[in-house]
Amino acid sequence: MRTKLTLAALALALAATPADAKELRFAFQGDADSMDPYTLNETFTLGFLGNVYEGLIRRGPDLSIEPALAVRWQIVAPDRWRFHLRRGVKFHEGEDFTADDVLFSADRVRAKGSDLTTRLAGVKEIVKIDDHTVEFVTEAPNPILHVEWGSWGMMSKSWAEKHNAATPEAMADDQEKYTTRHANGTGPFRLVSREAGIKAVAVPNPHWWDNANKEHNLTKITFTPIASDATRVAALLSGQVDMAYPIPVQDIGRIDRNPGTRMLVGPELRTIFLGMDQFRDELLYSDVKGRNPFKDRRVREAVYRAIDIEAIRRKVMRDLSNPSAMMVGPGINGFSADFKRLSHDPEWAKELLAAAGYGKGFEVGMDCPNDRYVNDEAICQAVVSMLARIGIRVKLNAQPKAKFFPKILAPRVDTSFHLLGWTPGSFDSWNPLYNLHGCPRLGGAGPIWPEGARDRISQGKVNLGGYCNPKVDALAARILSETDKAERDRLIKEAWSMTISDIAYIPLHQQALAWGVREGVTVAQRPDNQFAWRHVRVK
């Protein structure tokens, strides 16, 4: 009740002093799909909630690791990390932040329904030393234990339990929880209201622990999802929003030429790729019965060679993409310019298909988002016509991400061919090797993507094609615990050579970040495309 009163008072204060109001109004092409920070491991949702919830660490504008809810940490034994928690931190609704909340958040992030289980992959035990000290015990030495914790927000145990939300809302079922619409973090901003798909409003947290060094001068943040590219651009040009992203590649010039707006363009760490079903005995949405063409490496190579990535770069991306031979881009540890894309060669592709016994081609359904990545649907349509030329008939199913993700992600994994993008949250190759290339099965053997147990998969959680190479898994395990940098990099390169020669995926490109901002607004553009409001100043 008191919080509501404070809120009302704050709202009144805001309404009463419009002259001092520094409001940031921004638009994105989709919505944050849930306010539950563990429901969806997706950049925009994590980035949005990263303003409300905080992790033990946080990332600066240049992605450097900074202390956040942990003031410092030390490796007391190779398999044992000790974190000293910040004292005096309060959640937005007044609860004290203590070690119990860390333990609770750790249980919750690994609970059924969480999409972020990999944040604690390989953690055996978490020990509370005292109210402000916790230790993480790992199965094997893990030099990069904490690197992804910037997007693992700490939640209040008492608050979550009071609202019956001790386990996360699961993306795949429609069960809403209190945490779907409400948030209670320790971060610089607190959520005031949220209407799914319409708008969300946040205000600064007056009790934030880092207010002494705060950079921003905001009094209110209003977020509006605007799916239509043209409408989003028009909203920025007409001054209805102060910041909008992504700006469609075809409109970048216009935003820059317009006197009141400017563009921030930079390389993004995300890699866009195509995934192919390599585990089912029969493809979904296909006319091939009893066989799965994608299990044959020649078919995967044919698809690869049929795709004219230069045409996509020039026409769909208007030169704002960086065709990629790897599943990671420059800026990610483990990227190497030594790998080269397979050449574009439709004739060769046809021969490969014929050699594999699909001379007449085949039919397959393709899943594609239409509001997630830069020109995602246009890329998919281009892929459809390029594959048609070698005889593969693709039925395209392009949908908004709110429908796309639950369909293709675990536990449904209802896809045999899809377009997806991935930014390693740790900015290190182990993350995609484990999440995208790890064999998605329980234990060392057993079926891939076992029916009924798909939500328990952690290794290979986003390996929707079910690519499985035990040698890669073994390498990934060694990479995780190897502490010698040179040896570790060598192992990473070895793993990438394997997956690339297997054609586990078809990497397409790294897209460019394209943020449009109004003159007078300064923002920090992070290469992982997360928008941290705490760096925003509005004139």
């Binding site: 075809q250 026409k315 016509s385």
Partner: protein
Amino acid sequence: MTAIARLRRTIARVRDHDLWHDFTASRITVAAAAVTLAIVLAALFAPWITPQNPFDPAELDLLDAFTPPVWAEGGDWRFVLGTDDQGRDLYSAMLHGARISLLVGFASVLLAAAIGVTLGLVAGYSGGAVDATIMRIADIQISFPAILIALLIDGVARGVLPRDRHDELALYVLVFAIGASGWVQFARTVRGSTLVEKNREYVQAARVIGVRPAAIVLRHVLPNAMGPVLVIATIGLAVAILTEATLSFLGVGVPPTQPSLGTLIDIGQDFLFSGEWWIVVFPGVLLAALILAVNLLGDWLRDAFNPKLRKGVAR
């Protein structure tokens, strides 16, 4: 010889008819008819008079995307009106799109007319509780905008039908959605005519000699109620085409791999700011011309069937 004579007689009869005089006297109507006919014929023969099949992904080349119209700088004679973002020839895509638009338009008007005329006849001839029920349903339905009902039907159909068959069934769903949202006008008009006709002497005479009600309705009442139906059908065609375009523009109509005029406009609007105006302008102009022409024809038909509005025409 007799066939030719018969044809001559028919032509003479048509030329002698009031409607023909009315028609030829109005230059706008003649122009509207010519435009409609041209678009319908072009759409009908689209596969034979276009250089590309825009529905076949194998015929598209991404490298041709965003080619401007031939008279602009960078134009190409292969693509007279330019290409869209996927390298579809706009001229081909527009004609194939108009084909879908017209197909959906005609089919849904037929469906709406079939439902509406039947219900109107039943309501008007039976009277009583049947009449009241049917007309109250009609009243309820007309209090919602037609586009809303079409959206609702489309949404429910998408939820019910299996996901991988959506694309094949999209056209049928559209026809049903638009048809089912447009029957009320037919029902109301036909009911009105039926109420008037059923008390006429010839209907009473038929009843007296023991003709069955179904036969009376079909043989005697229906033909006399058809004039207004034709008018509503013509105007309804324009509305149906527009509804289809709206639904496709909103992304719930035909699949994007088989663009109708509405889908093309939807694709084109993303490129309005960036200077590729032709993607949205040409399909937009074609749609506007088609709707305007059909509406003008419908207006003229309404006036022609209404003697009170008939202008003095020299006979």
